[in-house]
Each structure stands twice: as structure tokens, then as C-alpha cells.
């Protein structure tokens, strides 16, 4: 087990309280949204991708626990300027490393929600004439507590 100091590090709480690019984003070309119905964490990610496949600007919105929201903020902050290829290479392990504090499997799911949404968002252009697979409100299936 990680200790409390570790998981709610100052830097995590900073992101939670003062998130990077949280809010609506009018210029998005791509977006996706998902939630974990089992704990109520929700993440929406909106991206402006350039013709060459670069993330020009990224925003998120959502609600949920500290881990899900702070990690989303960190992710959004990181990806701007990156190419789609670079995003593709950004693994779940990279996401957990970006977050920092070590997480138990259950909390890793909170941390990886935004990462999963991002992976879908890059394939979800907002232009309806495109090969859009549309917004998808069904979250990843992360099991359920009893």
C-alpha cells in the first residue's frame, strides 16, 4: 500500500484544485467522453488537431475523485504539441508514471480513465461527415463494488 502522503501529494491536489484547461472548448476538432458508472468519475476530452496530426490545443471537463480529475489535468497539460504518433506511444504505464504516486489497482482505474478517453478522442472527429464513431457515453467497464 502507498501511504496517504504519497497518493494525495501536494502536486496532485494542486492539479485537482487548479486544473489545466478545464472547461468547454469551442475550437475542438475531436472529442470523446466516458465515465465509470461504478464510481461516477466522468471525463470529457476535446482536442484541436492540426492537419499534420498534432495536438494544437486540448481541454477536458468532468467530475469525480481527486485521482481521476488531477490525472486528467496532468494528461491534458502534457499532450499539447504532441503528434498523434507520440500519443499512440503514450502507454498506460506512462500515464501512471506521469501521475506520480503509486496507485493500487482500483485507483489505477481512476487514473487511467482520462487516458482511455484520450485514446478514443483522437479517433472521434467532430465533423459529422467524417468517419466519426460519435460520442460514446458508455464508460469502460471497471466492475462494481458491492
Amino acid at each position: 500500500m502507498t501511504s496517504e502522503q504519497d497518493i494525495y501529494e501536494e502536486h496532485v491536489l494542486d492539479h485537482y484544485e487548479d486544473p489545466y484547461h478545464r472547461g468547454p472548448f469551442d475550437e475542438a476538432t475531436h472529442a470523446h467522453e466516458a465515465d465509470n458508472p461504478l464510481c461516477g468519475d466522468q471525463i470529457h476530452i476535446a482536442l484541436k488537431l492540426s492537419a499534420e496530426g498534432k495536438v494544437v490545443e486540448a481541454w477536458f471537463d468532468g467530475e469525480g475523485c481527486v485521482i481521476s480529475q488531477a490525472s486528467a489535468s496532468m494528461l491534458i497539460e502534457t499532450i499539447e504539441g504532441k503528434t498523434l504518433d507520440e500519443l499512440q506511444e503514450f502507454s498506460a504505464e506512462d500515464m501512471l508514471a506521469l501521475f506520480g504516486p503509486k496507485l493500487t489497482p482500483n485507483r489505477q482505474k481512476c487514473c487511467l480513465l482520462s487516458w482511455q478517453v484520450l485514446r478514443s478522442a483522437v479517433h472521434s472527429p467532430l465533423d459529422p461527415n467524417d468517419e466519426s464513431d460519435g460520442p460514446n457515453f458508455s464508460g469502460p467497464s471497471l466492475g462494481e463494488e458491492s
Binding site: Y8, C39, G40, D41, E80, E145, S146
Partner: protein, 422 residues
């Protein structure tokens, strides 16, 4: 004989020390209780000294195991005051038990256009099987809503029964979130007046109050072993004899038949008819030890003790600013206190409590429709049992107070990274 005063010594796990040297305060009993030594020992003893498959083997071990298995049934029948031992069917758990009723009684008796009445506070175990049946049969499901005070008044039950004339009324005897207790005998009598069959989900009632199925007069009653200090892997379906007799078997296999030919089979008599395959033998034997243990402590004593501690916790939590307790302000309740904090998500609360050695659940507790009706996605739930102490309740109150303060917005600023253009 175990007593309330020194029962903690009977539970090895309660002695465990947790992270940062804290002592375990196990307040997750509504999810599953812990087991006393006598229950654990009964499993060990079974496997070490007399275990064999049951089902009327002729050798000594099988005879001993069969006798212990059936003795367990008799004890459980006695525990819930069933008229006949064979009205007690062993299943894999409360969930399996409800599914048994849905598949066997339900598919036989519920048709298109019929209505099943539930309450909005049901556990998914008492919703999803009926939704599955409804999809198959084209029947309708209606939910009794909560009033503003989070209660369901008997007048509302009566009106719903009158309006919907349900074939089945299935409701929980005690909510696993609100801690509220249903007046089972009263609701059952009303339902019977309207010709409804009644299933009572006693998963949260069996651990906490004396059960008397004859006084309740319900048609089906279910509960789980692991919530009454028993083992996992076993639950109880109580069914009224005539109903069980008239129902087709559910699962098919060894033990539940009288005769099998290539053409078909005939069913065994009760209770075997509903116990296909090798049953949970050691689990049944351990369940007997469990109901024996809590009976010796005394269900009435358990109820009173929990009341005291849980209400103490509830009172303390209500006094913390920004804490909202999801429970009626008054009325009969079990040892459950669910709450939300204005500053922290339930997962963060549970996590932070765990750091202090306090085990609670966070989430929707398998009651998504209830949570949606309440307009919340998740709650933190502390659930007390007889081995919990007032001191543990105090630790909870103090910890929640700390956590609420800790996650309070303080005007923090994220360190601006170089790429930040906002």
C-alpha cells in the same frame, strides 16, 4: 459462550494492525462480515476429520458429512423459524437465491402484462433478475419511490399494490445504503391481500435482527452466509413448502433428480430438487457454526448494540459541516451510515479512511437506481456490526472531520508548466 463484551477476541482479523501502525476498524460489514474462530475451525475440522461428498454415500465419512450437512439445514431452519427443514434451500448466495426464484417461480408464473413491484432502494440482486425476466416475458416492473424523508410509507405500498396488482412484490427487509428497515409482516400481509406473492431480500436483515419467517409470512426469503459471519460460497433460499413443491427445478444435474432416462427426468423431493450438483458442504457446516455463534451472542443484543454505535456515529457525522448523511433522520435503522462530503469524492474518502485503518465502502453499493433517485453517484458507507466499538465510531467521526478539512479548497495553484498557455 461468546458475549458482546469480549467477542472481539473471537475474530482473529480484528487484531490485525494496518498501515502506519493503525489498528483495523472494520466498518464494511454490510458488504461482508468477518468470521469468528468457531466458524473457521468448523471448516478445518470438516476437511481434516470427516469430509466426503454427501448425497447418501454408504461409507462412514459420507454418512458423517451428510449428517452434518443436513444438521446445518435444520439449524438454519430453526434460526429463521421455518416450519420445515426442507423449506431451506442452500444456494451459492442471496443473488443465486433470487435468481432461482426468478427462473423457477418467475418463468412459471409471470406472463406478459403482469407487473412486478420493487422499491427503488433495492440492491441490483433484487432488480436485475426481474429485469431479465421482464425482457423475456414482456412483463412490467414498477418501483416504489422514496418520500422526501427517504422512507416508504405503508400507505404508499398499499396504494401501489392497489394500482398495479403485482404478481410479485419483492423488497428488501433492510436497505444496504439507507439502513432503513421495512415493516415486513405488514407489507407482506397487504401484498397477500392483493394476491401478490412476496419475496423478501433479508441479506441485510438476517445479520442484525431475529428472523421469524412464519411471523413475516413471506413466500420467499433470501440471505447470504458471508453477511452473518459465515463463509463465502453459500446462501439461503427459504420458500414456502407449497410454492417450492409447485415450482419446476432450476439448475439440472446430480442430486436434484429422482430418475433420469434418455427421454427425460423426474425431480427429487424437497430440498434436493433445488440443490443440483455437489452442494457447498463445508460452507453449510460453517454456516451452522455462524448462526450458532450469532444466536449465542443474541440477535436482540446485536441489534441494540449496533443501534447505539451506529446512531452515535450518525450523530457525530451529522455535526461535521458539509457532511450529508443519506438516511432518514429517525425511525428504525440497522448499523449502516452512508454519507457524502461536500469537499471530497467518496473514493477519496474511503481511501483516506483506509490510510487510518478504517475500512468502509465507497460507490453506489449495487444500488444505482437508488443513487440516481437521490441525485448522487456515490456515497461512503460505514456499516457496523456487533464486534464494533464506540471508540471505532469515534475514530470514524474524527477521521471524516479531518478528511473534509484536508480536501477543502485552499486556493492552491498548480505549478505552471512551460507549455501552459492558459
Amino acid at each position: 459462550m461468546p458475549t458482546l463484551t469480549d467477542c472481539r477476541d473471537d475474530f482473529p482479523i480484528l487484531q490485525r494492525s494496518m498501515d502506519h501502525g493503525t489498528q483495523l476498524a472494520f466498518l464494511d460489514n454490510a458488504a461482508s462480515t468477518q468470521r469468528p474462530v468457531s466458524v473457521i475451525k468448523s471448516i478445518t475440522e470438516c476437511y481434516e476429520t470427516y469430509y466426503a461428498n454427501v448425497h447418501r454415500g454408504i461409507h462412514t465419512l459420507s454418512e458423517e458429512s451428510t449428517e452434518r450437512y443436513e444438521h446445518s439445514r435444520a439449524s438454519v431452519a430453526n434460526f429463521i423459524n421455518a416450519k420445515h427443514d426442507h423449506e431451506v434451500i442452500y444456494t451459492a448466495g442471496a443473488t443465486s437465491a433470487i435468481n432461482t426464484v426468478a427462473h423457477s417461480w418467475g418463468r412459471q408464473n409471470i406472463g406478459s402484462g403482469d407487473t412486478i413491484l420493487l422499491t427503488i432502494a433495492e440492491h441490483h440482486a433484487n432488480i436485475v433478475p426481474w429485469q431479465q425476466l421482464a425482457t423475456e416475458k414482456g412483463c412490467r416492473i414498477e418501483y416504489l419511490p422514496l418520500q422526501d424523508d427517504l422512507q416508504i410509507e405503508t400507505a404508499a405500498v398499499s396504494a401501489a399494490l392497489e394500482k398495479w396488482q403485482p404478481k410479485l412484490f419483492a423488497f428488501t427487509a433492510a436497505s444496504n445504503v439507507l439502513g432503513t428497515v421495512s415493516p415486513v409482516a405488514q407489507w407482506t400481509a397487504l401484498a397477500h391481500q392483493h394476491g401478490s406473492t412476496v419475496l423478501v431480500d433479508a441479506a441485510q436483515a438476517a445479520p442484525h435482527q431475529p428472523l421469524d419467517v412464519q411471523a413475516w409470512d413471506a413466500d420467499f426469503i433470501v440471505f447470504s452466509g458471508h453477511k452473518v459471519c459465515g463463509p463465502t460460497g453459500i446462501g439461503v433460499l427459504y420458500g414456502r413448502e407449497q410454492l417450492l413443491e409447485a415450482m419446476p427445478p432450476f439448475l439440472g444435474g446430480g442430486g436434484m433428480i429422482n430418475r433420469v432416462t434418455t427421454e427425460g427426468f423426474t425431480s427429487a423431493a424437497l430440498p434436493d430438487k433445488f440443490e443440483a450438483g455437489t452442494p457447498p458442504i463445508a460452507e453449510a457446516i460453517a454456516l451452522e457454526a455462524a448462526v450458532q455463534y450469532i444466536s449465542e451472542i443474541g440477535l436482540t443484543e446485536i441489534e441494540q448494540h449496533e443501534q447505539k454505535i451506529a446512531r452515535h456515529a450518525e450523530t457525530g457525522l451529522r455535526q461535521i459541516e458539509g457532511v450529508r448523511v443519506i438516511s432518514p433522520p429517525s425511525g428504525e435503522k440497522t448499523g449502516i451510515v452512508s454519507f457524502v462530503l461536500s469537499h471530497a469524492h467518496s473514493h477519496d474518502v474511503a481511501h483516506s479512511l483506509s490510510e487510518r485503518g478504517i475500512a468502509v465502502r465507497a460507490g453506489h453499493h449495487c444500488t444505482m437506481p437508488l443513487h440516481r433517485a437521490l441525485g448522487i453517484t456515490a456515497t461512503t458507507r460505514a456499516s457496523f456490526y456487533f464486534y464494533n466499538t464506540r471508540e471505532e465510531a469515534d475514530r470514524l467521526i474524527q477521521a471524516v472531520d479531518d478528511i473534509q478539512k484536508k480536501f477543502k479548497p485552499t486556493g492552491r495553484r498548480r505549478r505552471r508548466s512551460s507549455g501552459d498557455r492558459s
